[in-house]
């Protein structure tokens, strides 16, 4: 539905509205590492985008590769009187499912696999086009999905959970950390770097192909 007065709003592109309290600000040019805070409520208004589109694309490709490694490699191996038991993320999902905690299995699969993966894939798709300043087909839907999925990706929590599980198991078993745990650790770092970026910035650096 078209908005009235839209034509008179072209100056609004230089404005930014605090998401937490509705205060209106003029957008500022931020220097490296700078963060603009809302003076009314203290929320972050915008951050300096210190990695360019090309850099972000490279990071996403790296994250995708690490994500695959993290999911196929064993996280930890337990040893008990000659027997060894190893697991991957999917091993944990399947164990929960078979032991009657299907809801938790689904939650684990969504927050540690499907949401992070869709985040990475959508981001990769959007950035591939953004490198030439273009908006990918389905750009609006992709950007909306990124915003909605973001709070439900929990790789960082899983990382800490693995650590706790290893310590708990260590009391009774020999614990050998597998490559999966390093991959998850690296993924956590990459995701932290990304989280310091506002993906919505891509709206400003790309233009519709038709326009």
């Amino acid at each position: 539905m078209a908005l009235k007065r839209r034509d008179g709003m072209h100056h609004a592109q230089n404005l930014i509205i605090c998401e937490h309290c509705d205060s209106v600000y003029q957008k500022r040019k931020l220097s490296r590492g700078q963060v603009a805070d809302c003076t009314v409520c203290g929320a972050v208004l915008e951050r300096h985008q210190w990695i360019g589109v090309d850099g972000q694309f490279a990071l996403i490709i790296a994250a995708l590769i690490v994500f695959v490694i993290a999911n196929v490699s064993p996280i930890v191996t337990l040893k008990l009187s000659g027997m060894a038991e190893t697991t991957t993320l999917w091993g944990a999902v399947i164990a929960m499912w078979n032991d009657g905690a299907q809801l938790v299995a689904a939650l684990t699969a969504l927050t540690l696999f499907f949401f992070p993966l869709s985040q990475l894939v959508i981001f990769c798709w959007v950035l591939w086009f953004a490198r030439e300043g273009r908006r990918a087909p389905g750009f609006a839907q992709a950007m909306t999905a990124l915003v909605r999925v973001k709070p439900w990706s929990m790789i960082e929590v899983f990382m800490l959970g693995t650590l706790v599980a290893v310590v708990k198991a260590h009391t009774y078993f020999d614990v050998v950390p597998g490559p999966g745990i390093w991959a998850f650790g690296f993924l956590t770092v990459l995701i932290t770097v990304f989280s310091s970026h506002d993906t919505r910035h891509l709206w400003d650096v790309t233009k519709d192909a038709k326009a």
Binding site: M1, A2, L3, R5, R6, G8, M9, A12, Q13, I16, I17, E19, H20, C21, D22, S23, V24, T39, V40, C41, G42, A43, V76, L78, L80, S81, E85, T86, A92, A95, M96, D99, G100, A101, L103, V104, L107, T108, T111, L112, A140, M143, T144, V147, P151, M154, V157, L160, G161, T162, V164, A165, V167, K168, A169, T171, Y172, F173, R200, W203
Partner: protein
């Protein structure tokens, strides 16, 4: 420095999804001209939805703590742990640091979420202008810590997958962990439903 104007006073609003600044509209069917998401001045039905989800979470929180979340079985013993007893065990096993982390994630964080969301909802309904800045800070805190409560759920998932030595030793998830997972999701949804702009709206006095 004087306070910046608020969007509503200037006849503006911004898109929740892409942050585009558009002209103010109270049309409930308005869409963002840029990303086509629904445009709302404030999240719709925010307070009622946030309350409902919070109360549901509080209800599930009881079985989540009373029922054991994990069974450790070996040849000689069968040991059911609740969230709290699991923390004690971690402490006794010589990892007080991790015990504190798990205690924070599983007990302190959910408790804080219940308390803070209740404070926010009650104060907004009373149109209190009191310590708005502190309440805004509390809201951001809840948003930030929300998902860390999932910690124990993931610990049980990993241990259940790992400790599978037939009759010798086994770890199984128990119903408590399902309730706990539900609590985490409900409290996160409750916080997301809350619109922090309400803290700054309809104040009795400036």
């Amino acid at each position: 420095m004087s306070a910046p104007p608020r969007a509503r006073e200037l006849g503006m609003m911004s898109c929740h999804i892409c942050r585009l600044v558009t002209a103010y509209s109270d049309d409930p069917h308005a869409h963002c001209p840029r990303c086509h998401s629904a445009l709302h001045v404030r999240k719709q039905g925010s307070i009622a939805r946030s309350w409902a989800l919070l109360l549901a979470a509080a209800m599930f929180y009881i079985p989540a703590n009373v029922f054991p979340i994990m069974r450790t079985q070996s040849l000689s013993s069968k040991d059911d742990n609740t969230i709290l007893s699991g923390i004690f065990e971690l402490w006794r096993a010589g990892s007080p640091g991790l015990a504190v982390i798990v205690f924070t994630a599983s007990i302190v964080v959910p408790m804080l979420k219940f308390i803070i969301m209740t404070i926010l909802l009650v104060s907004v309904q009373r149109s209190s202008g009191l310590v708005s800045k502190q309440r805004a800070r509390l809201y951001r805190f809840v948003e930030l810590i929300g998902y860390w409560s999932m910690l124990d759920v993931f610990v049980v998932a990993i241990l259940s997958a790992l400790v599978h030595f037939q009759i010798l030793s086994r770890v199984e998830p128990l119903p408590g962990v399902v309730y706990f997972g539900v609590v985490v999701v409900l409290t996160m949804l409750s916080a997301m439903s809350f619109d922090p702009r309400l803290i700054w709206d309809n104040r009795k006095s400036q």
